[in-house]
């Protein structure tokens, strides 16, 4: 993998035994190596989750298809959702946070380096435990062995009566275990940002990246913990015969929904705020202007974080809440659109009047802006509770949140990969391949997820392994599936580019983008200690100050 070359990226390092290298990576407490481990682990699961998605899309390519059985299909969507959220998106944003927060605030490492290692490994083992269910579990009556209750695992489908065997327990325990790691990493990020900033870096002078990671970590603390609590309750139900979600004994299925979405909604922002962070670093550098309205960007991030805890029940407009509750969650959800809109406007204003360079990172950011805008607008549609009564749990919702997660978060992540790849590996990526990746993935993304809205509008529910012909869904499903193969090709090029470039790419130098944050002031890849001497900063753009001594910020 890419890691090896990065590990021995220093040219003068003597050749070492594989065992020695492996031992280095297993025992490391270095935030950069752990960050890379997070990222590589996430890419591995991205490919696995992508294969699961492809299996589902092949099954749905025509009505009444028999590519897989309903049992397998149900396992696929459960594992796809769980994997992509918990074992791709979360680790990857943690990976970037781990790698770059200390570098950007001028620190030598995270606040708790050993806890950092522990958090990574326990998250990783949690993923392995979940995937062990394919060989070790058994599920719903007559079904296979991986969890098949959906990624939000609504009660009472998870009760012993409906989910015999251990497949649901694999789901619960896998997430519980990896949740410990998430909470550990969040604690670590907060302590790092608050306690290890280099001299002169007041909170008002931190890069937005650090600010947004701070907010993200706070959300993790307050959002993953309720999920952990709910998982403990579910385990008590399943192992000790408690009745939290046992509807036969007076337990409430709706309570699980509330608990899950108190986690589930802030979780979206846990993932998207780091994407905001990437975009907020890349757009200014490639537009050659500072971020427009730094204070209001910080304020908008914090208020998104705050609002995200008030909107969870918009996932539950159809469960029969009274009209006042529905109205409340409708307006709280619409209000999220305000700070999000501010951000989009501020990014455009950053580009406005600049001199934009269209490097691959910037291309992904521009696509991010467009797609995140659409995702936000379909979000507004879904926040209108009556509209949601028609759209909820349909393919429209599936298209909407994939627009957020793929069109927003993943595009932001790809931008981040290309932007920081020279820093992480010391080498430049192959520009032509990166453009191929961008255009193929863009086309595939739009083929898949634009057209996925339509069957939803036409009444196609999600999570069905097959459908009847003649409902007007057929042609759209065909197009959607075709798009998947474009995306797959893009991902293959991406992974290939990373592997090839980290071994054979041109040397990038310390600062290939003429950027302004502290990570570009040290070597590429950074030495273990990050900075020989800890820096002192006077403004939000320390490297600008150095590059323009006559005109500092």
């Amino acid at each position: 993998m890419a890691s090896e070359s990065i590990a021995i990226g220093r040219l003068d390092a003597p050749a070492r035994q594989i065992g020695e290298i492996l031992h280095d990576w297993v025992t490391t407490v270095d935030h950069k190596k752990l960050g890379l481990l997070y990222i590589m682990y996430a890419i591995l699961f991205l490919v696995i989750g992508g294969i699961e998605a492809t299996i589902m899309r092949i099954q749905l390519i025509v009505p009444h298809n028999n590519f897989v059985s309903p049992q397998v299909f149900n396992e696929m969507f459960t594992m796809h959702g769980t994997t992509m959220i918990f074992f791709v998106a979360m680790p990857i944003v943690f990976g970037f946070g781990n790698y770059f927060v200390p570098l950007m605030i001028g620190a030598r490492d995270m606040a708790f380096p050993r806890l950092n290692a522990f958090s990574f490994w326990i998250s990783a083992f949690g993923g392995l435990l979940l995937y062990f269910s394919f060989v070790g579990g058994n599920g719903l009556y007559g079904a296979g062995n991986a969890p098949d209750v959906g990624w939000f695992a609504y009660a009472p489908l998870t009760a012993k009566a409906f989910s015999l065997g251990h497949s649901t327990d694999f789901w619960t325990l896998g997430l519980l275990v990896s949740g410990i790691g998430s909470i550990g990493t969040a604690t670590n990020l907060i302590a790092t940002v608050l306690c290890l900033r280099c001299p002169g870096m007041t909170l008002g002078k931190m890069p937005l990246f650090a600010w947004m990671n701070l907010v993200m970590a706070g959300l993790v603390l307050l959002a993953v913990s309720p999920l952990t609590a709910a998982q403990v309750m579910l385990s008590l139900d399943r192992y000790l015969g408690a009745h939290f979600f046992d509807t036969q004994a007076g337990g409430s299925a709706v309570l699980w929904m509330h608990f899950f979405w108190i986690f589930g909604h802030p979780e979206v922002y846990v993932l998207v705020i780091p994407a905001f962070a990437f975009v907020s670093e890349i757009i200014p550098v490639f537009s050659r202007k500072p971020i427009f309205g730094y204070p209001i960007m910080v304020g908008a991030t914090v208020s998104i974080g705050f609002l995200s805890f008030l909107v969870w029940a918009h996932h539950m407009f159809t469960v029969g809440m009274n009209s006042y509750a529905n109205s409340f969650f409708a307006i709280s959800t619409m209000l999220v659109g305000v700070p999000t809109g501010i951000k989009i406007f501020n990014w455009i204003a950053t580009m406005w009047g600049g001199k934009i360079r269209f490097g691959t990172p910037m291309l992904f950011c521009i696509a991010f802006l467009l797609q995140f805008l659409i995702a936000g607008l379909t979000g507004i549609m879904l926040s209108v509770a009556p509209f949601d009564w028609q759209l909820g749990n349909s393919y429209f919702v599936v298209a909407h949140f994939h627009y957020v997660i793929v069109g927003g978060i993943l595009f932001g992540l790809f931008g981040a990969f290309y932007y920081w790849f020279p820093k992480m590996s010391g080498r430049m990526y192959n520009d032509a391949l990166s453009k191929w990746h961008f255009w193929l993935f863009l086309i595939g993304f739009h083929l898949t997820f634009d057209f996925m809205h339509i069957p939803g509008l036409l009444g196609m529910p999600r999570r069905i392994y097959t459908y009847e012909p003649g409902r007007g869904w057929d042609v759209w499903n065909l197009i959607v599936t075709i798009g998947v193969f474009f995306q797959g090709a893009g991902i293959l090029i991406f992974v290939g580019n990373l592997l090839w470039s980290s071994l054979k790419g041109k040397f990038a130098g310390n600062d290939p983008w003429d950027a302004w944050t502290l990570e570009w002031s040290t070597a590429s890849p950074p030495p273990e200690y990050n900075f020989a001497t800890l820096p002192t900063v006077n403004s939000r753009r320390p490297l600008w100050d150095i590059k323009h001594p006559e005109d500092p910020d």
Partner: protein, 198 residues
């Protein structure tokens, strides 16, 4: 035609940041608070929703003595940390031991209450919703007390063997935050379970 490294910190610059130990502990406390909140919400949500008996009124008694012990242990641990900060290791050991004993009494009392409920009143976690929520909420708290007591015991052992030095007062201080948190959570649990719920 010049180039330069980043400026180095100047000596006169005062640069003060919060302690990472305290920040870390506050983060842990925030996460734990969220977990307890969920359990408390579940407890309140299921009040009076059990389909069969026994009810809280039938079986619960106010654990006044245990509560006094636990809450006063907050004071003793505070005194212990203060002693250590003032380099009085002996006094630290005594206050620390007292904390351990008070916490131990609380845990013992909880155990006695559970024994009584299970064997005399026939209430288990699977009896009804009251049993489910009662044992999980009180049990979650008891689990935190147990973890705290284990940590206190380890520190006690180190004290006995003379390994604890005044320079460790910051660690003791960070741990005491956890203990204060466990105590204040008990006030919430007590109010919800024994006052509102009964």
């Amino acid at each position: 035609m010049s180039s330069t490294s980043l400026p180095s910190p100047s000596a006169e610059m005062q640069w003060v940041l919060p302690s990472r130990g305290r920040v870390g502990m506050f983060c842990l406390i925030a996460a734990e608070t969220a977990i307890f909140t969920i359990f408390v919400i579940a407890y309140i949500f299921y009040l009076g929703k059990s389909v069969s008996g026994p009810t809280p009124k039938d079986v619960l008694e106010l654990p006044i003595f245990a509560s006094i012990c636990l809450l006063s242990s907050s004071l003793t641990i505070h005194m212990a940390v203060k002693s250590l900060r003032n380099a009085k290791v002996g006094a630290f050991g005594l206050w620390w031991l007292l904390t351990l004993v008070l916490g131990g009494i609380f845990l013992g009392e909880t155990g006695r209450e559970w024994y009584h409920l299970i064997y005399d009143k026939g209430l288990t976690i699977s009896t009804n919703l009251f049993g489910t929520t009662y044992y999980s909420l009180v049990g979650l708290h008891a689990f935190h007390v147990t973890v705290g007591l284990l940590m206190i015991s380890v520190a006690m052992l180190l004290t006995v063997f003379g390994k604890v030095k005044p320079e460790h007062h910051e660690r003791a201080d960070v741990f005491s935050l956890y203990w204060h948190f466990v105590d204040s959570i008990w006030i919430v649990v007590f109010t919800v379970v024994y006052i509102i719920g009964r």
